[in-house]
């Protein structure tokens, strides 16, 4: 066998010369891969850089702590990050000091403290934690460093991190309120930094005297969250931890500072960073998937247009493999160039964000941009794969070109709409829809729904060409009437190659499907929250700590009694949160006055009685009770963070979990196990005849003394509970914009290629009297038709998958499904406008065409 270099080089030369000749055709492909890869690479580089920065930050900040002493038991509730640990006794401090090799020991008290700014509004708290603790004088054991002023010495003095002070408009000597959650008046005597930055990310920190911290953040004096130990020089962390472990009592453990820092880091990078980068990667994946369809289409068209060229090559003796190879080599060349450019673009994006974030007040830790091998290899590989993978089928088709095809006139392609395809698609769609519905209805089976959803997506892609003929015929019907022959021609052109139309629209369809999936899911989530509040909140106003998530500071437990004493108020009930393990799994408990609760929350039908739960009684939601086979009278065991295991009797089973949660216990039952006492919500019912506005004003006035938390009506409360959904949706829309942009590039590219292919037709039309503006509008309407088809398909697909997602993720059967018509109409409108935009350039190029040249073109 002869060396393959000759023929291989020939086919490489062919593909390179064809690339040079048709640069414009691949501009769209290049751009699609470039954008997708840049997004992916940017995400990865940013993730790596953030991780590395946090790594150094935590390592440096905690480098002085050799050993951390803490309670061994931890209760972790799913969905909440850090577990809850019982505080340790500070009496241990003296004992630890005497351990050989110990240089310094300090109790560390950590809790939540919401700082109130100069304007009376809380500082931060919209997600990142609001921390408060004791100011540790030993610089080695304190991750914060005093930058200005001095340490707190007497009760009521505090230091805050500089970023928080700036945000709240606070300076040295200012007096403000710290909600712990009982309001504490503090005077700021110092400003501190963390690892050289003005704060730890977006979190806020307030340092108090040890006595203040003990009183405010711990259940009792003489307790601390952990005890930190600094080692004498020459004593290793492991060694010291072993020595310390020997002197601590049962139920208390000693871990190295390194391990504690790693756990902290996991908290940040594991929760926040991973979530963040995973989210971005998923959207980069969607963008690349959309790109795959666009690119495949481009190659399919290019190969079809080159049939004669390829047939001539075959007739002249080129082998199948050479023709196939030359097409594939073209794809690889484009993919390589675009991926490399995309990689550079991604690094640029990450660098830009690094520069931009601090400017908008988000401290992106300083440091070198980390461009790891994975962050380079993965985007490059994915880009190449997407490009080459999309070109495989067209390349195979190119290789199969019969030499005779050079002589035949290529007829209009109707292959897409074959009966076999319609049948296969219908079967897939039916099977997929059946599986999805079966999995989503009744008791959700997530795997069945996912498999069904995947099948439905495949069915949509398979059915595309069949559906496109019908859809374009229907969608285009009014067009012929409205726009006359221009509209009719646009419609015919869109119908010409169902496969091409479908492939073009599929890219947009996927983008729009994801958009509408999230839109429907978000709307359903909001509707669910709305319904939860509506069904279960029977009071008049709710008092909430502003913000949501882990950062929310909570309300003072004294607020509910204070509000309850108002003449306008009939009932005011505080709902606190507790945690305990049930059957080995962490659960959230609602800590409240159960009898009063029934006056402001609707718990539905109650089996048993909520009065007299006492010290060892518990009320459980119907769903949890059924799961564990409990009925009034059953007994169960709660394991608390302090290691205590208590037997409880189920006294009541209620129908509606809603705001009340799944487990309700009295304050007396929770008291022995509490750490920092706070209420998440105070529900208030007015006396009969009290005007809502008057009642509300009175409650607001009473709340002023407790850090001025927000007083909301039912409607406002439901809306603020759902406001997180809107933030999420905005983010998702922004991320999906890229995928939609790529899909539009695909439409524009396909149109450009089609215009090129129809040069003679366009020339003829111009010769017999089509004006330039008629021609432009013809191309644009074709674009709009394709976009309309893609958008309509995407809306249908997205709404169905959204429904499946809502149902499948709802094991309790309490979720509402909502289709927001307004928002979906906006999506449709955006799709159509996008179609006009995508057709803009191709239409202009088509209109610029020289009539004579078009007629003469072969």
């Amino acid at each position: 066998m002869s060396a393959p270099t000759g023929p291989a080089r020939a086919s490489l030369r062919l593909s390179l010369s064809s690339l040079r000749a048709h640069k414009r055709r691949f501009a769209g492909t290049f751009l699609a891969v470039f954008l997708g890869v840049a997004f992916l690479a940017g995400t990865m580089v940013m993730g790596d850089t953030l991780r590395a920065s946090f790594d150094t930050l935590f390592a440096n900040a905690n480098s002085g702590t050799a050993v951390v002493v803490r309670s061994a038991d931890v209760v972790t509730v799913p969905g909440e990050g850090q577990g809850t640990r019982e505080p340790v006794d500070t009496a241990l401090v003296t004992r630890l000091r005497s351990v050989p090799g110990v240089a310094a020991v300090a109790p560390a008290i950590e809790g939540a403290g919401q700082l109130v700014g100069r304007d009376g509004e809380p500082v931060g708290g919209q997600g990142p934690p609001t921390l408060a603790g004791n100011w540790i004088d030993d610089a080695g054991l304190n991750p914060y460093v005093l930058a200005e002023g001095r340490a707190p010495r007497t009760s009521g003095e505090a230091v805050v991190n500089r970023a928080a002070a700036e945000k709240g408009g606070l300076g040295l000597g200012d007096t403000t309120v710290l909600r712990t959650p009982d309001p504490l008046r503090v005077t700021i005597v110092g400003l501190v930094t963390f690892g050289g930055e003005d704060g730890m990310g977006q979190s806020t920190f307030t340092g108090l005297t040890r006595a203040d911290a003990e009183r405010r953040l711990m259940p009792a004096p003489g307790r601390a969250s952990t005890i930190k130990v600094r080692a004498d020089s020459g004593v290793g962390q492991e060694e010291l931890a072993r020595r310390v472990a020997g002197v601590v009592p049962h139920g208390v453990e000693a871990v190295t500072g390194q391990q504690a820092a790693d756990e902290n880091l996991d908290q940040v990078s594991g929760r926040f960073l991973s979530l963040f980068t995973t989210l971005l990667t998923v959207f980069a994946g969607i963008a690349l998937l959309v790109a795959t369809f666009s690119i495949h289409n481009t190659f399919a068209i290019v190969v079809a247009q080159r049939t004669r060229e390829n047939a001539l090559l075959r007739a002249l003796g080129a082998s199948r493999r050479q023709v196939l190879g030359s097409t594939l080599a073209e794809a690889v060349a484009v993919g390589l160039a675009a991926s490399a450019a995309g990689l550079l673009g991604g690094i640029g994006i990450a660098a830009g964000l690094q520069a931009l974030f601090p400017a908008v007040g988000f401290p992106f830790p300083e440091g070198e941009l980390v461009v790891g091998a994975t962050a380079m290899a993965v985007p490059l590989g994915v880009g190449l794969l997407v490009c080459a993978g999309s070109a495989v089928l067209p390349a195979v088709r190119a290789g199969r070109t019969a030499p005779l095809a050079a002589l035949r006139e290529t007829a209009v392609d109707h292959s897409g709409a074959s009966r076999g395809r319609a049948l296969l698609g219908a079967v897939l769609a039916a099977a997929g829809a059946a599986a999805t519905v079966a999995g989503a209805a009744g008791t959700p089976q997530v795997w069945l729904t996912s498999a069904g959803a995947a099948l439905v997506v495949v069915a949509f892609v398979v059915l595309g060409p069949v559906a496109s003929s019908y859809a374009v015929r229907v969608l285009g019907a009014p067009l012929a009437r409205l726009r006359g022959v221009t509209g009719a021609l646009a419609r015919r052109n869109a119908l010409r190659s169902p496969k091409r139309t479908a492939a073009t629209a599929t890219a947009l369809m996927i983008g729009v499907a994801v958009v509408s999936l999230f839109t429907v899911f978000g709307a359903s989530l909001k509707a669910t929250m709305d319904r939860t509040v509506d069904r279960s909140f029977a009071g008049d106003v709710a008092v909430t700590a502003s913000g949501f998530g882990a950062g929310a500071g909570g309300l003072s437990p004294k607020l509910a009694p204070a509000v309850g004493r108002l003449p306008e108020v009939a009932t005011a009930v505080g709902l606190g949160k507790g945690v305990a393990e049930v059957d080995g799994g962490g659960r959230q408990l609602t800590v409240t006055d159960p009898v009063a609760l029934t006056r402001v929350l609707d718990l539905g039908a109650v089996d048993g009685s909520l009065s007299g739960l006492g010290r060892d009684g518990i009320a459980v939601s119907r769903q949890e009770a059924d799961k564990h086979h409990w009925a009034p009278g059953s007994t169960m065991v709660l394991a608390f963070a302090d290691g205590a295991r208590r037997r409880f009797t189920v006294r009541a089973v209620y129908q509606e979990a809603g705001l009340g949660g799944d487990y309700i216990v009295t304050r007396t039952a929770w008291e022995p196990h509490k750490v920092q006492d706070s209420d998440a919500l105070v529900a208030v019912a007015f006396k009969d005849g009290v005007a809502p506005d008057d009642g509300r004003a009175a409650v607001q006035e009473a709340a002023r003394g407790y850090g001025n938390p927000e007083v909301q009506t039912r409607q406002e409360y439901a809306e603020s509970a759902a406001s997180g959904v809107d933030i999420m949706l905005t983010l998702v829309y922004a991320l999906l914009a890229l995928a939609v942009l790529i899909a539009l590039l695909g439409i524009a590219n396909t149109l450009t290629l089609s215009v090129h292919e129809r040069t003679r037709e366009l020339g003829l039309l111009r010769a017999v009297g089509q004006t330039r503006s008629q021609l432009r509008s013809m191309v644009r309407w074709e674009s709009v038709l394709v976009a309309a088809f893609g958008t309509a398909g995407g809306l249908a697909l997205g709404a169905f998958l959204g429904w499946a997602l809502v149902k499948a993720s709802d094991s309790a059967g309490t979720s509402a499904f909502a289709v927001p018509p307004g928002r979906l109409a906006v999506v449709l409108l955006v799709g159509l406008v996008a179609g006009v935009l995508a057709g803009w350039r191709p239409a202009r190029r088509a209109a610029r065409l020289d009539v004579l040249r078009a007629i003469a073109a072969e």
Partner: protein, 256 residues
């Protein structure tokens, strides 16, 4: 009355050394109600003359007229409107839009204008063309000759002042060509239309009332009531004059 004419028409292509004078001062009128053929060797400027006279292209100097309208004064949009209302076209090939049916192709210019079609006239045309049973077919289902007949019907459908045909039979065998030519003849003699046709074929030219001869971008001769033999003789004379070097180079270069 002349339906279309050009006066001192000059058309040059390219610049510098590559400059070509495709039309070199041609003045010719195409009388209304007559069938005129344009003949001449390849590269003599026939197509160029036709394109310029029909408003598909603009002259470098000189004037072109359709009826009383001077084309040089018109913009692209006005030229387009003129083409669809007052001029018909038949090209050598690719005359029809593949996505439209025969019937739709015939009325395309009127549909583009948004004006109604003269049903009676179009039906009469379809009758003459003899494709009444093919109206719903697509061009790809027709033979080359049938396609050209549809193109002729399309060119006549709007009752244009003049129909320009560039080698309409160039791709056809003699029988189909004959049908198309007879159709053009009937359009002139029975329906009173004006046709200007470029052709290489003396037999085709014999269908015309008059033949004008071009060479090297100049009008060199005209012949009334042509027959195939007379035209052939004239062409041969032309060739020999060329061979003996009486003509200049086939492409005249401008050297200033």
């Amino acid at each position: 009355m002349t339906a279309a004419r050009v006066v001192d028409a000059v058309k040059t292509y390219g610049t510098g050394d590559a400059r070509v004078r495709a039309l070199d001062g041609v003045t010719v009128g195409f009388p209304g109600g007559r069938f005129t053929a344009i003949m001449g060797p390849s590269g003599s400027g026939k197509s160029t003359l036709m394109h310029c006279a029909a408003g598909l292209d603009t002259l470098t100097s000189g004037t072109a007229w359709i009826g009383d309208t001077e084309l040089g004064a018109l913009g692209d949009r006005q030229l387009t409107l003129l083409r669809r209302q007052r001029v018909g076209f038949v090209f050598q090939s690719f005359n029809l839009l593949p996505t439209l049916t025969v019937a739709e192709n015939i009325t395309l210019p009127q549909d583009l204008a948004g004006t109604g079609t003269d049903r009676e006239w179009v039906d009469a045309l379809i009758d003459v063309v003899g494709l009444g049973d093919r109206l719903r077919h697509r061009p790809s289902e027709l033979s080359g000759g049938q396609q050209q007949r549809v193109a002729v019907a399309r060119a006549l459908a709007g009752r244009p002042e003049v129909v320009f045909a560039d080698e309409p039979t160039g791709n056809l065998d003699s029988r189909s060509g004959e049908e198309v030519l007879r159709l053009l003849g009937r359009a002139v003699h029975d329906m009173g239309r004006t046709v200007v046709m470029v052709t290489h074929d003396p037999v085709a030219a014999a269908h015309a009332d008059e033949v004008v001869f071009l060479a090297d971008g100049r009008l060199v001769d005209t012949m009334a009531d042509p027959t195939a033999e007379k035209v052939l003789d004239r062409m041969k004379a032309f060739d020999s004059s060329r061979d003996t070097g009486r003509g200049t180079a086939p492409r005249q270069r401008v050297t200033s």
